[in-house]
Structures are given as C-alpha cells and as structure tokens.
Symmetry: C2
Subunit: 371 residues, 2 copies
C-alpha cells in the first residue's frame, strides 16, 4: 500500500475506511496518526496494534477503536450530505493545509474542490467589529478575491462574515469547528449555502459534532494553515484572533495586521501584533506584495510516509528509562532521544504507546510531557 | 583662541560677535561656517578671508559681510528680548542638537536654559488633527513629561499645540521658524509665554525675521535634531510631519509613528512610516523602552574644530579641475576628492570658495553640485 504520490493521492475505499477508523479512535490525533502509519506501514496495520500499544504504555483500560461499521456509516452519511472525506493530496484538500505536521488525515470537504486548491489568504477578526472594521474587511476580501485569492475564514459574526460575503464570487472557504451539519452561529446557514455554491467549507469533525469552546482554537490552525498568510482586521487584547495569529506564526505563515487608533480598544490586539513583528497592512496590495515571493515556492506536501513497516519492539527497560526521563515539564523530543541512550525509533514507539495510553501530551515545537 | 571644551564651552564677547558676523554673512550656512572655522582657525580669520575666497570662487559680486555694528546691535536687541545667542556646548543649547553636522553655530535661546539641557522627545503631527489625535498627543506628551522628558515641538496648531500644553509643567520646548519676535501662528503668543515660563523656545533666525514657507523644513531639522526621537501622531500623505520624520531618520534619530485606521486619511502618513520601518507606538512606555538604551550613550558634542589654522592655497589648476569634475548632478565629496588628484584640504578649500561665490550647493549625505 502506497499513498504517496506527487499531487494526485487517491485512497482506495478500504484505505479510506482504515484511515477513518484510525483517526476517529480514542487518543489518536493527527500527530499520532502520522506516527502510527509511519511505524506500522499502514493504517490497517496500526489498527491491529493499537490495543497492544496502549496496554504496554500503561493504559488502565484500552481506548475505544472506531469500528469498520461506524466508519462505513460515517462515510455514507457524509457523502449523502455532500461531504467528501479527503486525504492530503486528494482533490479538495487545500494544498498548504496538507503541509502541516498536524494536518487532518481526513478532511470533510463540501463545495467546489477545485476552488479549494487555489492560493488562499485568511481574514479573521472580532465578532463585535466596528463599522469601519467591517467595511475594511469587506473591501480587503473583495480586492484579494479579485486578485485571484480564495478567502479563508471562520464563518463567525463580524469580520469573518464581512470577508466571506464580499468574496463569494471569487470563491471563499469557511472553516468549521463542528460537523458540517452543526453550523455555528446557526443564523449563518444561508451564508454557508452561498459560500458552498461557489467555494467550499471544510471540517475535520464528524457529522453531528456540536462545536464546543475548545474546538475553536483547534479549528483556527486550519484557517491559518490553509492560507499563505492571515490578516487580522480588528482584535482586542487576548482575543481569539490573536491565537490564530500566534498559530499562523508557528506554522510559518505570514501574519498581517490592520492598524488602528491607540484610543480604539478594538485595535489594541492588531497594534500589538505589529509591535511584535506582524506586517502592517492598509490595503490588498500590501498583502499581495508580501505573499508573491512565497507563491513562487513549490508546495511540498507532507504526507504520512507510508513505506516499509518498522516493527520495533522496545524492551521493558527502554520503556521504563524513557518514562523516567519524562515528567510534567515539556521536554524536547530531540533531547529525550539523546538522553534515552537507545534508537530514535524505539523512543518514538514508546511515546506512541504512552500517547495511546492517554499518558503523553504533545506540545508545539517538538515538546512532549507526561500527563 | 580655543572654543573646544568638553561641556562648558563659553565664547568671549569678541568671539560671539565674530561668530554672529560669520553666520549672518551672505552664503554662509552652518556647514560653511564649520568649514571656514576649521580651515582658518577662527571666525575672525575666516571673516578676513571671505571676500578673497568668494572672488577666487568666481563670484560676480562679493557677498555681503555682516558688520560688527550690526552684530553688536543684534546681540543687544536679543538680550533685551530675553534671547541668548548660544554656541554648541553653552548652557541652554540642547546637547543633541549640538551633535548635528549642520547645528546652528549660534542658537537664539529664550526661557530656562537648564530645561533645554535635558533629554527630549519631539512630538509632531497634523495642524488639522482629529479629536482623537489631539487627545492622544496630549496624553502622550504628559506621560513622557512625567517620565522626565522635555517635549519638543513646533508651536503649530493641532498636534504641536496639544503636545506643548500638557507638558508645560514638566518643561517643553518650542522650535520657531522665524525670529523670536515673529511668532507663527500669531494666536499662539500666550501659549509661547507659558512655554517660556517653565521651558524654552529656540530659533536660529534673527529677531525680526518673518517665517516664510521655506523656513519650516529648515526649522524641522532642529525639532528632530534636539530630540532622541520623533513621534508623528497624525499625518496625511505628503505632509510636513513626514518631512520631519525623514530628516529625523537621516539624523539617526528614532522615528515613532502612531497607527490609525486605513480608512482615516489622517493616519495614511503614519501608517506609511510604519511600513517603511518606523516604530509603531501606542503609549509613552513604547517610546521610553526604545530610547532608554540610547540615553545610556555618551552625548558627543560636535563643535567647530577651532584648532591650528590651515592656510591652503589652491593653485588655479586645482580650482579648474575641481570645477570641471562638478556639475549639476550631485557628486559625493569623497568621490570628488578621489578624482581630483590633490589633497582633501585643497578640495575643501575650493568648495568653500565656490560656496561663498554662490556657485555650490550642498545636499544631504555628503553630496555637492554646481548651481
């Protein structure tokens, strides 16, 4: 089984079922998914090994494994709702999003797949934006749309809504925090319908998933990750848009901020971003000028390296030493490997076991800690 | 005669008369003044040589030399008006201003000399500022004043006025484009009186000089030059405050700009400055944080190096070759010296002659051209 192709990955039906089962199983996030497939050569091999790995990692009870029946039912229901569960490299999966380390293995895509393959700029900002902020977001989105960019945003009230509305003709993408059938805010159903008619919507959550507060920061990484850069239009101190900006910077995406008067609290966050190094923009041309050189770069897809299976069997002593080295303070994976005195493959396998046992937390920047 | 002392320069009465005569003579600006004193060892020696130099430079008629009587009368009238004509290094001459290459050899200082020796921040901006801009300028000036900085500005309507008003208690400095008795705008006489009561006003122009349009950019170099940095509060595209910002950058001063909405034309200039590298500020702390490291630096006074006279006599052939090398296109002085095939001192002497003959123009950055 080889899912690696340059730009036209296509999973078989059986593979898609296995991928969906693995990513929907307990304690398997996008990172773990990638590690498991890298280690065992395929999602189906990883599924077979999950209970054993979790047991060795010290799980008190095994995590739930998503059944083949559930996976088939989800695929069918999604298809009926117009949602394709696509893998990185497949049509409709935004190419830049596929480059993320924690790219969703399967992304629920609804709408026009070709539009979602085009270069994107994300526009985010306050839900309770000022009239000037809404006007600016709308103008910026239209101008960038006219220049050929797809506008990515979060379907929220305020700036998101303004950005989606003026970029409908050129194509815009809504990134959802819940399932495709659980829209937030509910009054944006009509806006979403218009978005899907000429653009698209994406979600990594299953149908029926009602978005909770903690789903929004997780969703935000998809907004920035799909785009060349993120424009923050209006943001107060400590607002969600600033989290998106921070994630965007960590992802290596451009961060743009729209300035405002120091007397306007709704500009406090964007002015802070500029102080911290974000690029001040006042018009679409500023954004285009900054992303043009990036667009010249080849987009390199990051996919699970589904190659030869590597069946490492850590010794109990390896496992014990690695657990001893870990603690609640995040440690660099590279440091851990150096200190463990064993092969990187063994360390990674033990970390997988711990992760599947619900005992390991992965932080940004290659840091891990025990829970 | 030696006017070089570390921090307490004091001219004799006779020297002050000579300095005033030299700087008020035709075709002698601050640059030429410095060159002449460097070449001939003193202002009085330079005054003796002026007619001869101008004649050799090819002047059709000699420039007017300011008479000793006129100088004595100006000094007396200035004193009567409360204006001291001070040299770099003397009390009341702002120390950073003395560091400029084109520092006025004699500066008319009125008010409290000790205040003008303290670290300064310049605040400039639109005459027709918005209410928010005026409020911000006032708050910023008060906060910086409370932190111990003297606020330098141009006594204009709008931002200047707001900045002066809130920093009266801590001390503020008005930089005038005309003579001390020719205030612009006239309705700011009362504000000026309040400024002088606790701070000061400076001008390089003689009493009676009515400010013309071209005096303002020249004056602006004194506002920025006296300060550690310049804050531009509100400025439209192509406004005078942007000229001050450009000069400040050329002088090596910090340039700060207050952001504003892209929809506000009065913020277009400041947003542009930030795009070009100025530091975005939203409060006094931003300014203080940026200038603190600079304040640690020793302030080095630039004074005319009044030392050994250097009587170079350029040959007619030197003069001809140098004039041939020059043209209407500005040329770097260093390049001219290299191409002239003679000593730098000879080149500088010929340039002085040409300058005094009204045939040479000096540009920024060491560039010279024939008129």
């Amino acid at each position: 089984m080889d899912t690696r192709t340059s730009s036209t990955t296509h999973l078989t039906d059986a593979q898609r079922i296995d991928w969906l089962r693995l990513i929907r199983s307990d304690r398997v996030g996008p990172h773990t998914f990638r590690s498991l497939v890298n280690h065992f050569g395929s999602a189906s091999a990883a599924l077979e090994r999950l209970p054993d790995l979790a047991r060795r990692g010290g799980a008190d009870r095994p995590g739930r494994i998503y059944s083949a029946e559930d996976a088939r039912a989800e695929l069918a229901a999604s298809r009926q709702f117009g949602v394709s569960l696509t893998a990185p490299g497949e049509a409709g999966y935004p190419p830049r999003l596929a480059m993320l380390e924690d790219a969703p293995p399967l992304l629920g895509v609804r709408g026009a797949p070709d539009v979602l393959m085009r270069p994107m700029i994300a526009i985010v900002g306050s839900r309770n934006a000022s009239g000037a902020g809404l006007k600016f977001a709308g103008t910026l989105a239209r101008d960038l749309s006219d220049a050929g960019f797809v506008i990515a945003s979060g379907l929220a009230r305020g700036i998101d809504q303004a950005a989606h509305r003026t970029s409908l003709t050129g194509g815009t993408m809504a990134v959802l925090a819940g399932g495709h059938d659980k829209i937030y805010p509910p009054e944006h159903e009509d806006l979403l319908a218009a978005i899907i008619a000429s653009g698209g919507a994406i979600s990594e959550m299953p149908l029926g998933h009602v978005p909770r507060a903690r789903d929004f920061p997780r969703r935000n990484r998809l907004i920035s990750g799909a785009a060349l850069g993120v424009v923050v239009v209006e943001a107060a101190h400590r607002s969600g848009s600033l989290i998106t900006a921070r994630i965007a910077a960590e992802q290596g995406r451009e961060v743009f901020a729209v300035p405002g008067s120091p007397l306007d609290p709704r500009a406090a966050g964007t002015n802070d971003l500029i102080k911290q190094g974000a690029t001040l923009i006042t018009e679409a041309a500023d954004v285009i000028q900054a992303v043009e050189p990036i667009m010249g770069r080849t987009i390199e897809l990051r996919e699970p390296d589904d190659c030869a299976p590597m069946d490492f069997e850590p010794e109990a002593s390896d496992r014990a030493r690695i657990v001893d080295l870990l603690g609640p303070t995040p440690l660099l994976l590279d440091d851990l490997i150096r200190m463990a005195g064993t092969s990187p493959a063994i360390v990674r396998t033990v970390l997988l076991e711990l992760e599947l046992a619900g005992r390991l937390e992965r932080h940004g920047g290659g840091l891990v800690s025990l829970i």
